[in-house]
């Protein structure tokens, strides 16, 4: 009896120490796992695109024709498609997202109206992209078609411009919510100083708030650009999926993400496949760089 009691006393702490160590070790392993996953993603993309890197080389990037049947691969149509849609979407979305940021950050930071706007903007980011695509096909495409008839261009309806419109709606929340946080952080003595010198509200925003939050707003724009570059489903559904160099903003095209979504399952030989993976690799690298820079700027801004 006495012995059993003694054993019990000793074994409990030992067991706990073992548990404690196992717990700490599993935490470290899981933190390491994140690094392994990201490194694994990068390695897999590189290894799988080696055939295309070897046989197509750097020329791949500015090859104008994409013709898998004759084994001719050039990524220029998709690079152009991605750049055109993303930047057009960015240009359309910036006035709106900055307006939301200024309204919520400066004019009306509290109250039910600003709560309503804030929640609505967050819900815009929550809507699945495939639903934007479906809505785009059945609602936006006919509207764009009418516009195109008025402008006298070929009324495809689908195309670069429609894709940019859908993308613009989708990326507004990213720049808007980040911008709001940044504008809220402007120290009030700065603003009060400008007011006491007789500045109007517009002048305070233009000469104090915007210069102060410049880098933060830029980071928000970068993060929305990252979203726009990688967005797949909504774009695939409304861009028309034509693998030629787009002739105008209203012409159908293809982006890097949409060509992968359309052709990856159909690719029937290794070079075709690997050319698609190389597009994925390029997409990965670009979005990683954009996101890391954006996050760095935010971190520096919030630490100051």
């Amino acid at each position: 009896m006495a012995e059993a009691k003694k054993e019990l006393k000793i074994s409990r702490p030992y067991g706990q120490i073992r548990w404690e160590n196992a717990f700490k070790r599993s935490l470290v392993i899981i933190a390491l796992l994140m690094v392994v996953v990201v490194a694994g993603i990068l390695l897999t993309l590189i290894i799988q695109s080696i055939p295309s890197l070897k046989s197509l080389g750097i020329k791949y990037l500015w090859g104008k024709t994409w013709d898998p049947i004759n084994n001719v691969y050039g990524a220029l149509p998709f690079l152009l498609g991605t750049l055109l849609t993303s930047f057009l979407a960015l240009i359309i979305s910036i006035p709106f997202s900055f307006s939301i940021a200024i309204y919520l950050g400066e004019y009306n930071p509290r109250g039910w109206l600003s709560n309503f706007l804030k929640n609505t903007v967050e819900l815009i980011a929550a809507v699945p992209s495939v639903i934007y695509g479906f809505w785009g096909i059945l609602v936006l495409v006919p509207i764009v078609q009418k516009l195109e008839i008025k402008l006298g261009v070929l009324p495809y309806g689908i195309g670069i411009f429609t894709a940019s419109l859908v993308l613009a709606i989708m990326i507004i929340p990213y720049a808007a919510s980040l911008g709001r946080e940044m504008i809220k952080m402007v120290p009030s003595p700065l603003k009060e100083g400008a007011y006491s010198l007789g500045a109007t509200r517009f002048e305070v925003i233009k000469n104090v708030i915007l210069p102060y939050t410049k880098s933060g707003l830029f980071a928000g724009v970068l993060l929305s650009l990252g979203r726009a570059l990688g967005e797949t489903m909504a774009v695939t559904m409304v861009i028309g999926n034509t693998s030629t160099i787009p002739t105008s903003l209203f012409a159908p095209g293809n982006t890097m993400a949409s060509v992968i979504a359309n052709e990856f399952n159909e690719a029937d030989h290794s070079l075709y496949w690997s050319a698609l993976v190389e597009l994925g690799l390029a997409l990965f690298l670009v979005t990683v760089v954009i996101n890391v820079i954006g996050k760095r700027i935010i971190k520096r801004f919030t630490n100051e």
Binding site: A31, M34, L138, M233, F264
Partner: protein, 284 residues
Amino acid sequence: MNKPNVNIKYRLGKSRVFQGLILVLAFVVTLPLIAIIVYIFKEGITKINWTFLTAIPKPVGEIGGGIANALVGSIIIVAVAAIIAVPLGIMCGIYLSENKRGRLAYWSRLCVDVLQGVPSIVIGIVMYFWLVKPLGGFSAWSGSVALAVMMLPILIRSTEETLKLLPDTLKEAGLALGLPYHKVILRIIVPCGFSGILSGVMLSVARIAGETAPLLFTAFGNSYTNTNITRPMESLPHLIYYYATAPDDNWHNLAWGASLILLFSVLLLNIITKITTRRWNIQL
């Protein structure tokens, strides 16, 4: 500021016009969301009935059918993804909040940031090479793994941010009473931050429930109801994509109904999360 002699009335007027412009531009943004919700509700609500929820899709040209296969598939795929991602995400969040400095924490945090920005289609490609090609076929669980990878950054961030808000004295009190480290974390720290972690879980589920791109190359699709996670499985977003782009009115109807169900469950999850975080007063 360069022209100090400008009339004050002009300057005030300019300020007012600017304010009006900002107000209009800011609220114009709500229109597309309202338009989408109203349109999908109007088109979708008439399609939903008992057969719609319990039958499987009919082939082209036949009227009727339902989306039972996608409903069951979506629930299974998302549930498996959550089972994989939630423990990992919470544990990683705990590690990052416990080790604010340190080399591993730095790299781990960087990788989480990177993971958050990776386009979903790229994750689909990678999962294809990791899980689909070696095992010789599309499977639902490879789709779940792809979605789990997309859930992780949101989970980790929300766990880390929530636990950072807790005072150190809580942990110190537990340790001073002689509790082992894992008990301090699991019995004191995690329960205290439970609501924040829970809202992270709900947000991440809402985020991936509508993801289509990673499922294209992993779970693929299936026109029959399937509960075996080693076989291809249909999901709501994939069904919407597939049927919305097909030129068939009956299929469009199925896609409308499916969109309504998907949209409302995702929005509902988001709103519930918002209400709970407000009650617990936790900033995400």
